[in-house]
Symmetry: C3
Subunit: 272 residues, 3 copies
């Protein structure tokens, strides 16, 4: 039993779960699967071969399963599945391509763009207007804030934080045919307005300060700031306004993390 | 007498004023009030508890009264009123949340985002793709150009100018639970591409040059430039291409200002 | 014979070519011309006086022929034609104004904005979220990547490359009434995150490195980097990872260029 609005179109081969809400103007194309308890807001378009996990929300005016480049060869949509895990919360205006897999508990702000061949783990957050350009490997619990640009071939490991207006580039001598993606290791933090040059490696627990133009690899635990970015010390030296050590942040920050009910050490101990 | 297009949905409890145009596909939910002489373009969605002042325009594909986070607790829209003053000009693609008040003569470019608990005065301008993250206090005659990011807890006093790709941040040791908003005093100007670090205070009549990474408070009347931003003099020393002093700008610039028909000194004298 | 979806509106004076696909919810207003073999995806709105060349694609939720400022004088759409050449590929979410001409083989990413009085040559590419503010002259084979901001009065000559998060400004003493656009000469490359100050001239074959705040004119063939941008040599000194000279790039890069099947020298010889 579902709740279907006005002017909703559901293709014959689509499968809609129990207790699904489809608001007015929603379009569901062929071979789409919508899990139980999903809520799809006004005018959202789910193109062919999209699988949306149970208990998910998709905001108004979104497009899931957007055409890849090969559509334009004859205006025929080829088979490029998009799979989104359970408990997704995708706010209005999203555009997400086929040939992409997104794990459970994904959260997106408004008007995100995610292109093809992107793999995201679980509990990933992607902020308003952010653009994942495709062919990207994104781990678990990665937080990308508003208006970030994740260039093709980027790799973000688990628990990475990317703040607003960060751009990860990939072409060392633009324009060229080379795509040299950026790699960010676990727990690293890249602050607002940083531009990361192609192919760079940002080490575990590193902290890149706001407004940095990063031109060199970053060792683990290292703070980089400036234009060009220069190392200015170890992250352990940073104190908050109470004088407490705050990095590596996994020992002082819990919200939304798998150790939110205990602490990082207990979480790791339990994983073993 | 109003002009209602095709496939328009108007909830029973909505109140639509005189001489209103609702183009095709517009959706008006419960407890919405649309003032006289408003024009709502194609497919715009006005969710519950939105009040739109008379003589306003809302461009196509907009969403007013977007869901707050508490919607996702049971997929039920709680009561979060959005009030927009008279003579608003909101271009297409806007997303504006509930629990927000916007004064009269608001103007927005395309695809703006304004989140909850934002208070804006009158004659505010917000450019294309700009994102006001919520819990922000914005005065009168504030101009925010295209693609600015106003972080939570920011305070912008009257007559402030924020230029494209400026980001006002708020987390001093990201990720943390602290939100330390930026304050910008009256008449200050923050130029293109500037990143302002958390909790900073920008003084009255200050001028932050393009591309600055601002890491320190800025005294009144002071020019700051560079990465990190450094003071380079008093704004009174700046001359335009005719050799005229141009700052504080309120003595040389009138367009759109309340003193547009006389000058700033007369305006102030009349206010008293 | 065309393929018309559900709830499509076509004004009486519109002319729709042969073999056109209009998906559900498309709106075509008066005096619109859609060339043969075009494909217009769901819910796209084509306002009055738009001419779309044959063999073009327009993605879902786009708005072509968006209102200019003079609409708001009485909510009446004045005549401001938009002409888009053949073989356009405009991805979903575009907003393009009237009084604009775009040459053939235009390609756009998602949610681009192009304002009035823009002239673009042929084979122009404009990436996702990019914003051309209007009154801009853009040559042939100009590539503007994602999230660029082309300020009013900018001039981009043929074969220019503009990378993500570049902003071309225009007001030398903001706020003022002066609009002093940036000029970029042929073959110049402006890399990611660069802010270009008003009225600057970037010479032919110049290369502006990522993260530069450009405050001075750039001679031909010159590399500029830093904040403020400083000259650091001639582009001919740059080598790729194979040790090859890569600039001027027209001798080493062919994809999408008119010399893609031979080389630049042969192309020039044939032009004569």
């Amino acid at each position: 039993m579902s709740n279907i609005g006005k002017n909703v179109t559901i293709a014959a081969t689509a499968r809609i779960g129990e207790n699904v809400t489809l608001r007015d103007g929603v379009i569901i194309e062929d071979h789409v699967v919508v899990g139980d308890n999903c809520y799809i807001d006004y005018n959202t378009i789910i193109k062919e071969n999209v699988t949306l996990g149970a208990n998910s929300f998709v905001g108004a005016n979104s497009i899931l399963g957007e055409f890849l480049q090969d559509f334009f060869d004859g205006n025929v949509n080829k088979k490029h599945p998009l799979t989104i895990g359970e408990h997704a919360l995708i706010r209005s205006g999203a555009i997400i391509y086929g040939d992409t897999e997104i794990g459970p508990y994904f959260q997106a702000g408004h008007r995100v763009t995610i292109r093809e061949k992107t793999h995201m783990g679980e509990h990933v957050i992607l902020g308003t207007l952010s653009d994942v350009q495709g062919d990207c490997q994104i781990g678990n619990y990665v937080h990308m804030h508003s208006n970030v640009h994740i260039g093709m071939k980027a790799t973000l490991k688990d628990f990475v934080w990317i703040y607003p207006y960060v751009v990860l580039t990939n072409d060392p001598t633009p324009p060229s045919e080379t795509l040299d993606g950026v790699t960010v290791e676990k727990f690293a933090v890249v602050c607002t307005g940083t531009v990361v040059l192609p192919g760079l490696h940002i080490g575990q627990d590193a902290l890149i300060g706001a407004g940095t133009t990063l031109t060199k690899d970053v060792p683990d635990m290292t703070i980089m700031v400036g234009n060009p970015g220069r190392p200015v010390g170890n992250v352990t030296k940073i104190r908050n306004d109470k004088g407490e050590q705050v990095y590596p942040w996994r020992y002082s920050f819990k919200r939304g993390m798998p150790w939110k009910d205990s602490d990082y050490d207990h979480y790791i101990a339990e994983q073993k």
